[in-house]
Assembly symmetry: C2
Homo-oligomer: 222 residues x 2
């Protein structure tokens, strides 16, 4: 129902007909990708995947495209009545939006385990209780020692996990080096996104807004 209401709101938004017609294919593509991303998410969760690469692919389809890349393409279509550069502009927005969207999802993974419940609005360790198959957990499992792996098997995805259990898993994540790996990855994705904005195709005011969006998306505090 919410999916239908969303498209109804778009149709009634007051966007001029010609602009709307031009932007609808992007909107459709975004929704197809989102369906694929949500399916992938459920599927990989069911497989209990432990692969960083596969968890990154879920992040790309579920978050990066839907949250950042496609909305920029959508805006480019709305504003492109006369632009001959729409394809190059869309490529730039992908170069910016995909790494930033992935960084955003990785930051969400980190906050889901280490975030302050008062700021995130979610109980501490809820991602660990739920057994969420994040890139952070995949990296941890890839790097963990055998004894750490046994502890993960015992504690991860236990719905009754208590504070002590959360603390043990957190220290395994830190000691494995996975948290550092993720922070490095967030940093390099952020640099890639920022670099992509340096283009004559994107005007200076838009560049400033895109930089502000980077700061918000990867903030350590919510």
């Amino acid at each position: 129902l919410a999916l239908i209401w969303a498209s109804k709101m778009l149709h009634q938004s007051g966007i001029k007909s010609a602009d709307l017609i031009r932007a609808l294919p992007v909107y459709d593509e975004m929704r197809v990708e989102l369906m694929a991303g949500q399916y992938l998410d459920v599927y990989e969760q069911a497989l209990a995947t432990q692969s960083v690469e596969r968890a990154m692919r879920v992040a790309r389809y579920k978050s990066a495209k839907y949250t950042i890349e496609r909305p920029l393409h959508f805006g480019a279509q709305l504003g492109s009545v006369t632009s001959k550069n729409i394809e190059s502009l869309n490529a730039k927005y992908s170069d910016y939006g995909l790494p930033l969207g992935e960084a955003f999802q990785l930051r969400d993974d980190v906050l889901g385990v280490f975030g302050d419940p008062i700021e995130t609005g979610k109980p501490a360790g809820d991602d660990l209780r739920e057994g969420k198959r994040t890139v952070l957990m995949a990296a941890t499992i890839e790097r963990a020692t055998d004894s750490a792996k046994l502890k993960i098997e015992k504690l991860f995805a236990d719905p009754d996990l208590d504070e002590d259990g959360v603390a043990i898993l957190r220290s395994i994540i830190v000691e494995s080096g996975a948290l550092n790996q993720l922070e490095d990855l967030i940093e390099s994705l952020t640099i890639a996104a920022l670099t992509a904005t340096r283009s004559e195709l994107i005007d200076p005011i838009a560049q400033t807004l895109l930089h502000e969006l980077v700061a918000v998306a990867i903030a350590r505090r919510v």
Copy 2:
């Protein structure tokens, strides 16, 4: 995914932009009603409703609006560039489409219990095994004697119901008078639909097509 693909196909169908924009609100409204109808269907099934009135409401939202009324409104919008009569025309199409859509669903209920498996493509008695809360079953339960009600309780919605069980339920439906009640209802709904087409708003060729649709929708054979 199919829901999104359907709207993508509509957007790419080649319908002219101005026509498409005019028809989108009908498409949205139809999809909102369908979501409501599907929800009602699951909800009433979970409540194991025994009310003819409530089963009719499900038929209206799940089938009548989606299958007949709204597609006619959609077509009216597509063809109505200059028409001042669009509201009167839509009212006519509702007067035709809602009773016909309900008759169509009632015919489906009857075929689900009494239909020839070779023609319906569904095993005989499957609606009985599934415990489908149709208008036919609601009417039967309303009219059944106490001893027949006990048999219904025992046999209806039994996934392992055999041929003999199906035969017993069929004869209860017939003897209660529910089958006749449904055939009478289908007939009066059909007459209402046919009567609505006698209007100067609808041209003779369209009237003929609408009459053919009546014949197909309520046919005793599939």
